[in-house]
């Protein structure tokens, strides 16, 4: 067949929702969809979101340029410019450390959500998995005070990973054995984890800190379990090596998916469960394995926070955390790829640090409004990420664009 005929055929096929599509799960479609589009589109999308956010700033009577400048300075990212010197440089270094500290768990939780998407699952449970990981890592980190540091850290991190894996594994097992929709089970498991944590560390709880009987918190992580700080002052929340662990996890994520049999199976199951079982893969087993791996990522994320800078876990912190929630946005913005997730985590981490009112002049921008502005910008980014159309329109602001869409859409539809 010539390409000409193929095109027309593809377009006709665009009208069909039969066959394969019925067996494709929504997250699978999402996964495939989200990985298309390369690098340009998410970057452009982010830019557009910032412009939209700037308009919000402008409409609400502030100067978007100075606001963004302040936000950028707050992230510490100007540290990479060699002309920033002196005290400005040390301040920037400190801020950059904070940005990267915030980025670390976001990478890992993002990977946890992304891995599930690649397996055709929607893991809303990053928060719960993060919570149990935190509970276990703070418990292990504050016990066994005598252990050698490397061993102690390993024990606490592996324990957190296992806890997360078990927690997510429950959802995976329920899906695999009883067909329980993972969206429901992970939402429920989030809350169960939160209340279990509040119980454990609350006053009178089994794991509450014996040294502070009146404070609802865990015991403190002993020195041997703290992650070494490699940049900045260890006493003043310097940058711990968790960043490298998170980056290593991103590499593991990529290798696992693209270079191992497990990853091959997980992707096949995620993209087309019927074809996977036809090829002799167990869909159920892969759902379970994928969820467990997600949970491990999220569990490690919590361990990085606990062993890196928190050192103890307050019940309020358990209730107030929203890392898992952000992880969904990170994974989606990163298009469920390893590198994308890292970059998206950096963006969200930078936004989180940069919009702190340490850097916003209160006379320019009311700090209370600033945090809400951050939510709005994040919302706009995610919203714009959900569709390539706007970015692509900008990219090919010409007549060819509609054709591009048609072909893409046709391929996408025909591809089912």
């Amino acid at each position: 067949m010539s390409t000409l005929e193929e095109q027309t055929q593809g377009d006709v096929l665009a009208g069909e929702e039969d066959g394969g599509s019925a067996s494709l799960t929504t997250p699978a479609r999402l996964g495939a969809y989200v990985r298309r589009g390369g690098v340009i589109v998410p970057i452009l999308t982010t830019l557009i979101a910032f412009i939209a956010g700037g308009l919000v700033v402008l409409v609400t009577g502030h100067d978007p340029f100075s606001t963004y400048k302040a936000i950028f300075d707050g992230t510490g990212l100007q540290w990479v410019f060699p002309w920033v010197t002196g005290s400005a440089r040390s301040t920037a270094a400190f801020n950059l450390q904070q940005t990267l500290i915030a980025t670390t768990p976001l990478i890992l939780v993002g990977l946890a959500v992304a891995f599930a998407f690649r397996a055709g699952l929607f893991n809303i449970g990053g928060q719960g998995q993060y919570t149990v990981g935190g509970i276990v890592s703070v418990w292990l980190g504050s016990s066994f005070a005598g252990l050698p540091p490397v061993l102690h850290i390993t024990v606490a991190v592996v324990g957190a990973a296992l806890a997360g894996a078990v927690w997510a594994g429950i959802a995976g097992a329920l899906k695999a054995s009883l067909g329980v929709n993972e969206v429901i089970s992970t939402i429920m498991l989030n809350w169960i984890a939160i209340w279990a944590g509040v119980y454990l560390f609350g006053l009178g709880g089994p794991l509450q800190d014996a040294h502070q009987p009146s404070v609802p918190t865990s015991s403190s992580v002993s020195a041997s379990a703290k992650l070494p700080v490699f940049w900045g002052n260890a006493q003043l929340q310097g940058l711990h090596i968790g960043l490298f662990i998170a980056l290593a996890a991103a590499v593991v994520f990529w290798v696992l998916l693209n270079r191992t049999r497990l990853g091959y199976e997980v992707r096949a199951v995620g993209l087309n469960p019927d074809a996977a079982s036809y090829a002799g893969m167990s869909v159920a087993r892969n759902y379970f394995r994928a969820m467990a791996i997600c949970g491990a990522f999220a569990g490690i994320a919590a361990a990085m926070d606990i062993l890196g800078w928190k050192f103890s876990l307050f019940t309020n912190d358990i209730q107030a955390s929203s890392v898992g929630f952000l992880g969904i946005a990170v994974a989606l913005l990163g298009r469920n790829t390893a590198i994308g997730t890292v970059l998206a985590a950096l963006l969200f981490g930078a936004l989180q640090t940069g919009t702190s009112d340490r850097f916003l002049d209160p006379s320019v921008f009311n700090p209370n409004l600033a945090s809400n502005l951050t939510w709005m910008i994040q919302g706009l980014i995610v919203l714009l990420v959900s569709t390539d159309v706007i970015a692509l329109k900008v990219l090919h602001s010409g007549r060819g664009v509609s054709l591009v869409f048609k072909r893409r859409a046709a391929r996408e539809e025909a591809g089912r």
Binding site: P27, V180, V183, M188, L369, G379, S386
Partner: protein, 400 residues
């Protein structure tokens, strides 16, 4: 080989299913008889009934009704444990916790916002659009409901403002997911962030550090003249909020709409197979727009219940994840209004119970808060199980 046949054989009779259901009912009975008003003070009858329930479950399980069977076995165990606990605790405590009329009233209060949002979710998903943004739409309703009531001095107008705000946010979701063919999960997630920012921004901008003032016109309760003072019913529904009644009445209304009217038929066709709907001349995109906007309206009304009907004030992120519980209720209820009602009632009952259980043990109070989530998980795993979404939910429709 013949073993396989024998094992499967009972599965072809209707009995296991009925046995499984009977097991579930028996398990509930085993637990309830140790509570007021019956208050059996020994666990023996409960144990017997509970074992019967488990037996029925086991037979159902062998008969290939695996989910119902395991559900009945699990619930039977729980019931025996619960009944034993009941008989060992003081009657006074039991009477405090299990005042059924009060429990039902509290259940309805918990269920109302969830039900409204879940009904919205059903409409949207039945038309083929996933609405992860229910949470954000609820939040919009929560803030703008009370803001409207405050500014316009009328709860009616407040509710209308809430509905409009939810519709507006839903319109954004609709535009992205229908028109721009966005991924609906992503779009909905963005919607939630956006709502958090918008409501927080306006809340602080409008009310600053003082919060919403008191004395804002609130959605009233409905005093039922005849049964208001009649025992159980009086306590349970004698003075329920107007929005509670509206939510409950919407269940049959939406059922009729979806399954008995031409508009419902068309909506479902669009969600199941939009291409088919298109080829018979139905406006797929317009139908989806309608459905998403309607879902935003209902979710926002659910949010307005929280602020302008229940507590009379607003605080940031007031909905606290209720939109997601509603989403779970949609799936739990298999995309049917009655199913969603059952789901939110179960959730509401467990929440109400969890609030009262600390009477027995103050130290486990925080654990009781997890009760609704645990029960929902058990119910989904044990009884509800696999559910089939509308076939085209989540797939943008490309009209050529």
């Amino acid at each position: 080989m013949s073993v396989g046949a024998i094992a499967v054989a009972p599965g072809r009779v209707g009995a296991p299913r009925h046995l499984g259901i009977a097991g579930l009912i028996l398990a509930v009975v085993a637990w309830v008889i140790t509570l007021p008003p019956m208050l059996v003070r020994t666990a023996v009858p409960s144990a017997i009934i509970g074992v019967l329930a488990m037996l029925a479950g086991a037979i159902a399980f062998v008969g290939d009704e695996r989910r119902l069977g395991s559900g009945a076995i699990g619930l039977g165990l729980l019931a025996i444990a619960g009944a034993t606990g009941n008989t060992n605790s003081s009657v006074a405590h039991l009477k405090v916790v299990f005042t059924w009329s009060i429990l039902v009233a509290a259940m309805l209060r918990y269920a109302t916002p969830l039900l409204l949002a879940a009904l919205g979710g059903i409409i949207s998903e039945r038309s083929g659009v996933i609405n992860i943004g229910l949470e954000g739409m609820m939040l919009m309703g929560a803030f703008f409901g009370i803001w409207g009531a405050d500014v316009l001095h009328s709860w009616v107008l407040g509710c209308l403002v809430a509905i409009a705000s939810g519709a507006l946010l839903a319109l954004v979701h609709a535009w992205f997911s229908i028109h721009l063919r966005a991924n609906q999960v992503v779009s909905g997630t963005g919607i939630n962030f956006l709502a958090l920012g918008i409501t927080g921004y306006f809340f602080i901008a409008d009310y600053g550090s003082n919060g919403t003032p008191s004395g804002i016109s609130q959605v009233p309760g409905v005093k039922l003249p005849l049964i208001q003072h009649v025992g159980f019913f009086g306590g349970a529904i004698g003075n329920a909020n107007l929005l509670t009644w509206i939510a409950l009445l919407l269940v049959p209304a939406l059922t009729v709409f979806l399954f008995r009217t031409r508009w419902g038929l068309r909506l479902r066709a669009v969600g199941e197979k939009p291409r088919a709907a298109d080829t018979v001349g139905l406006p797929v995109l317009r139908t989806r727009y309608f459905a998403v906007v309607a879902s935003g309206m209902l979710a926002a009304l659910g949010g307005a219940y929280l602020s302008d009907a229940f507590v009379g004030s607003f605080n940031q992120n007031m909905t606290e994840g209720r939109g997601f519980i509603a989403l779970a209720a949609v799936i739990f209820g298999k995309w049917r209004p009655v199913g969603a009602l059952i789901a939110v009632l179960l959730f509401g009952f467990a929440s109400a119970l969890g609030d009262r259980l600390p009477t027995f043990s103050q130290s486990a109070a925080t654990l009781f808060q997890a009760l609704p989530y645990v029960l929902t998980l058990i119910a989904v795993a044990g009884v509800v199980g696999r559910s089939r979404a509308p076939a085209s939910v989540g797939i943008p429709y490309v009209k050529e």
